[in-house]
Amino acid sequence: MKNTIRQIFHSPKFVAGFSIFVIILIILFVYPLINPGDPLQMIGLSSFSKPGTYVSVYDAIDTEKAIMKLPNADEKRLQNKLSDEDRIAMKEWLLATGTPEEEIDITDTDHLLKLWKDKYDPSIKPKGMTMAKRNYYKRLNTNLEKALDANEVVIATRNTEDGTLDETKTVKDTEYVNTKDVVNSIYLPLGTDNFGRDVLKELVSAAKTSLRIGLIAGSIATLIGLTFGLLAGYLGGFIDDFIMFITNLFTVIPGFILLILISYGIGQEQRGATTVAIVIGVTSWTWTARSVRSQVISLRNRDHVNLSKLSGHSLARIILTDILPYIASYVVMALILQISTAILAEAQLSMIGLGPKTTEVPTLGLMMNWSMLYSAHTHGYWWAYFPVLLIIALISFSLNLMNTGLDQVFNPTLRD
């Protein structure tokens, strides 16, 4: 036993997979300790806020200021104000007034503004340009001039008696606040989702639930598969035929379809995470049964098994002491694979709206489902779905890697 474990940990593939898996596990259990709270709490009222640190604008006004002169601060400000559409419009004007195209580079703000200052003249009426368009350019020009000149913003409060605005503060363009000094601020490494929930916190909780689903479903599937495989392989005869008939049947009838039918039959109300896990486990045992059976058949007529039989040992004892130890490595491998397929199955099921009930726990599949329902993928809100996919792939990858490593240890023909 000790020797086997040492051998397993000499396989680089297993070690790589194992490390990834353990790291993920540690993160999943440590992160809630650092950042406690309800993972489903809706902190944002707007959906899909970008990842980053959010500081309260309101509190920032009263926070102690530091005066700084950062290089290129003005330029950055302008760059931020000039939208892509404005840039393209400016290019159009410049082209219409006869500036050669190769001189205009709309990505270079400095150069573009210089060109604009030189060439723009509200009195010019380029051919074919409508009045509305010319007015748009006039507004754009005044906006640009304002942006270049203004270096002070006035903060005012409304007088409760007569409704006039009283100036309380001015904010200069050289004032900065330390984000740590602002009383109310939150760091959202992965932004928020469609409900305004912290994606990272939700993801950690979801990954844990999904792992639990995988573990339950995988154990059930392996247990059923193992029992059926052992019985069919060892007993043979009618029981073998019968079990193989059922196994073959459920191999050809797509498990995914069964999953859909059963989940639909259970109904939305009864579908908790555990129920879904059980359903997945019950529908995915077939190939484990198949392979356990073929392993047992090759073991059935070995000398030590025959010896046990002659000694009058009971069926349970023969299976437990003479057969199980020989296929134990195989069963562990099957379990690992079952866990990873179960996690995928949950995700797929949730994607078509048959996942666990939505109000209690997040799962990886439900997070995917929500972000797809709110079209995060077509709007480019990558933080709502990409981390979820990455976690699914990483968990599944680490498990498969462990499995390949084990395979190479126990199947010498596959060794490199």
Partner: protein, 334 residues
């Protein structure tokens, strides 16, 4: 010919048996639902009806219309009879459209998308896996972890990633649908062009996913075969390397054919969810619609059709396998 006849006879028998069981499962599983089956349609039609006697009468008429007052066996026979003649009843959510109309067009989309994608993915995967086993060294070191990782990305995940990169970011592919929303299906050049453009992303996302798993399987099969005694013996005899590789490839390929038959169900399941991501007008999107609208007749028909499609495909693969496996061929001399 006796061996063949026995093989095919067994396969045909098996095909009809599984078909029958599939019918039973499709019929019974949703009926295990504790809720009243008519409640759903009642909630839609009886909205605003105050009189209790009227709702009761409505309920009874629905129970009669759907044949729920008859014994289960009779219901099952009617169900099978109707399904075989292609009559799946009326859709709840898109009433009064027939389930037939909704599903029949979707079948073509799904077959057109999934069959080529799975076959192409399977072929590419096998070739890459065989190459990895034969070349080893750098190619293998790179390909193995990559295919392992690819096979771990769920099909819908690959779909979302491809969509994000090519449709949203680079804008080189359309975002959703089977063809442009501004078009009507005709055999015009613009329609075909739009069709092909919409086909690319779903197609490649399924292909890429299936490559990974197949490559891994083929690689281990090929390595196993390359270490087999007959290869060593042939090497001693001085048989040309190219010829040995041919043998090895062929022998490693055979289990892969059965492997395809066995994994078809899983692959189709994954591809159906990928369809949902692209709102491809196939059966996957219909399942989503049926689930969200709790449209039971539609869901039932869709799952039955997918099951039948997978069964037929598995049957065809089994038949092809019978022709290419020399062991089945050898059996005819018994």
């Amino acid at each position: 010919m006796k061996g063949y006849r026995k093989y095919f006879g067994k396969k045909i028998l098996w095909f009809f048996l599984t078909l029958f069981i599939a019918f039973i499962l499709n019929f019974t599983l949703p009926r295990l639902m504790p809720a009243d089956p008519v409640a759903n349609i009642m909630s839609r039609t009886a909205r605003g009806v105050q009189d209790a006697a009227v709702t009761k009468a409505m309920h009874e008429s629905y129970v009669k219309a759907f044949g729920l007052d008859q014994p289960l066996i009779k219901q099952f026979i009617t169900y099978v009879k109707n399904a075989l003649t292609g009559d799946f009843g009326l859709s709840f959510s898109q009433y009064p459209r027939k389930v037939n109309d909704i599903v029949s067009s979707a079948i073509l989309w799904t077959i057109g998308l999934q069959m080529p994608a799975i076959i192409v993915g399977w072929l590419i995967g096998n070739i890459l896996g065989a190459l990895a086993a034969y070349i080893r060294k750098g190619f293998d070191k790179l390909l193995m972890p990559l295919s392992l990782f690819l096979s771990c990305v769920p099909a819908f995940g690959m779909a979302v990633i491809l969509l994000g990169i090519f449709a949203v970011k680079l804008k080189v592919a359309p975002i959703a649908g089977g063809y442009g929303y501004d078009l009507i299906p005709t055999f015009s050049w613009t329609f075909v062009k739009s069709l092909i453009a919409h086909y690319q992303l779903p197609f490649w996302s399924i292909v890429i996913i299936s490559i990974g798993g197949q490559a891994i399987g083929m690689r281990s099969m090929s390595i196993y075969e390359l270490n087999a005694d007959y290869v060593k013996y042939s090497r001693f005899l001085g048989v040309k390397d190219r010829k040995i590789v041919g043998y090895v490839f062929r022998n490693a390929m055979l289990p892969q054919v059965t492997g395809l038959a066995l994994s078809l169900g899983t692959m189709v399941g994954g591809a159906l969810v990928a369809e949902v991501i692209f709102s491809y007008p196939g059966l996957g999107s219909i399942i989503l619609d049926a689930v969200t609208a709790s449209d039971y007749p539609l869901l039932s028909a869709t799952t039955l059709i997918i099951t039948i499609m997978v069964l037929v495909a598995t049957f065809v693969i089994d038949i092809i396998y019978g022709f290419i496996d020399p062991r089945v061929k050898a059996a005819q001399f018994d």
